[in-house]
Amino acid sequence: MAWKFDNPLGTLTTDDQNVSAKKLWNEETLGGITEDNKRLPQPVVALMVLTIITAFMITFPLWGKRPTAAIYAPYIEMMSSAEVQGKSDDEAMTYIVSQVKASGFEWQSELERHPLEMDDLRLIRDQLIKLKQQGVDLREYNVLGNQLVMANFEGNRRADGSVERFQPWWDKGYTIAGFFIIFFTIGVVIAIKRLPENEWQPTHGGH
């Protein structure tokens, strides 16, 4: 293969290879079945790119993830604030939710997906405060009904050998998927570029 670095894709095939390919394409009708040498339609390429982007976008924020204890920490903090005292449960909850929302909380979207009521908060309050005092990372704990439990998650290891129980923004799965897509794209581009250029169309032996 006379492959030239300054014209990599154009020189994946040599001229004589192209000549024989065209000859074959023109002469063989494969029992009445033939195929054209049309280029990949641009909408198809666009849809493919869109699919790849969507694939990462839709999975990246990990929708539907089990709620971690960390997202409820501001709620629990506000439960004991002076403004909440004396309000009915529903009012207090509305107040807390609006306050946290207004403060631009990091995991606001998670909170909206996993709404709680005051009674639910009371159940996990003491456990959450206790965990906080222990100084653990609250992201490593899931809210499981009325309990906070260590997240069911095999993550990356820290320097001291312990396991991180939450997902890093880069994840082994995403990283592998990224490489996998790159290899695929290169492979397909090579396979396609080895065909005769698409301005040429076969005549299918007159069919």
Partner: protein, 316 residues
């Protein structure tokens, strides 16, 4: 038209398919293999026995070759009072579960403890053995292990069985076979979904909860509730009995099939069960001609219905 590509293509195909198999088979297998068994995994596999589907020991899935789970409060050897203990009795020739045969399955620390402290590998299938699940603390963390109490305390299978009356025996292993054979898992999953589902059906399983179990029978589509923790929600044997015989007796809107044929020929007192008469009486009741439904027979100890009830009650 492949032109000259088919040789290159075959190699590219091998590379592509091979790398996808490497990522989806080899890499997860390494991760999963490194997970240690939890207490739940040990309890499950000891109660279920070796295989939950087709096997040499039980080709027609009748529930042969399965251990008996017993709850005892007396030491089978000495008769002294002990803490309530759940023991898994493997009478001679009952195949041991996979975690006992291949301790590696239990994970590094539990298998080491099971072998050194629990003398698990001293057990012999020909002689039979009794196992219990224990917990000990290692470096501040509680670690479960399997103890072969036949070796450590001299509890023989016969003596252990003798300490438990019928009420304290559970045929969970046979019941799992019934669960699989009758296709309960086509409609009832054994895997709660995330978040809201947990509040209703209970905690989801954790890593290491399944080591040694086969098949896991998670199920894929639900037509009835998830059963992962059903024993905690409803532990009434009476209710289960009515429900399996004819679900419409306890839940008029249920679409579950009747499993009355699992009662076999005779009830617990050895009286033959007249299914035709029962169904005729039930039809009368359903038509509104009688006020009370006919009485449901209590399943015999060796019936399939009894085993299935034992299995379901013990899903906790």
């Amino acid at each position: 038209m492949a032109f000259r590509e088919y040789k290159v293509g075959a190699r590219m195909f091998g590379l592509a398919f091979g790398s996808s198999m490497f990522i989806t088979l080899y890499m997860p297998a390494v991760d999963i293999a490194s997970v240690s068994a939890t207490t739940s995994a040990m309890e499950r596999q000891l109660a279920f026995g070796r295989v939950g589907g087709f096997s040499y020991a039980d080709p027609f899935l009748r529930g042969h070759g399965k251990p008996v789970t017993v709850d005892i409060v007396q030491d089978p050897k000495t008769g002294a009072a002990i803490e309530p203990t759940r023991a898994y009795v493997y009478t001679p020739e009952i195949p041991f579960p996979n975690g006992v045969r291949h301790p590696r399955i239990l994970g590094e620390l539990p298998s080491e403890l099971s072998v050194s402290k629990g003398r698990m590998t001293d057990a012999d299938e020909v002689q039979g053995a009794v196992f219990v699940v224990r917990e000990t603390t290692r470096e501040g963390i509680s670690v479960p292990y399997i103890e072969n109490v036949t070796a450590t305390r001299g509890w023989t299978p016969e003596a252990t069985l003798a300490r438990a009356d019928d009420k304290n025996r559970a045929f969970i292993g046979k019941g799992k076979i019934m669960f699989v054979r009758e296709g309960c898992w086509w409609c009832h999953t054994l895997l709660p979904e995330q978040t809201q589902d947990w509040q209703y059906f209970g905690a989801p399983p954790m890593l290491g909860d399944f080591n040694g179990e086969s098949p896991t029978a998670f199920g894929s589509d639900r037509k009835g509730p998830d059963l992962t923790h059903v024993g905690s929600r409803n532990s009434s044997r009476e209710w289960m009995m009515l429900h399996f015989f004819n679900p419409r007796l306890v839940q008029p809107h249920s679409i579950m099939p009747r499993y009355d044929y699992m009662w076999g020929d005779v009830d617990a007192d050895g009286r033959p069960i007249d299914y035709d008469a029962w169904r005729a009486a039930y039809d009368e009741y359903e038509a509104g001609n009688t006020i009370y439904p006919p009485e449901v027979p209590v399943p015999a100890v060796d019936s399939e219905a009894r085993a299935l009830i034992d299995f379901v009650i013990n899903l906790k």
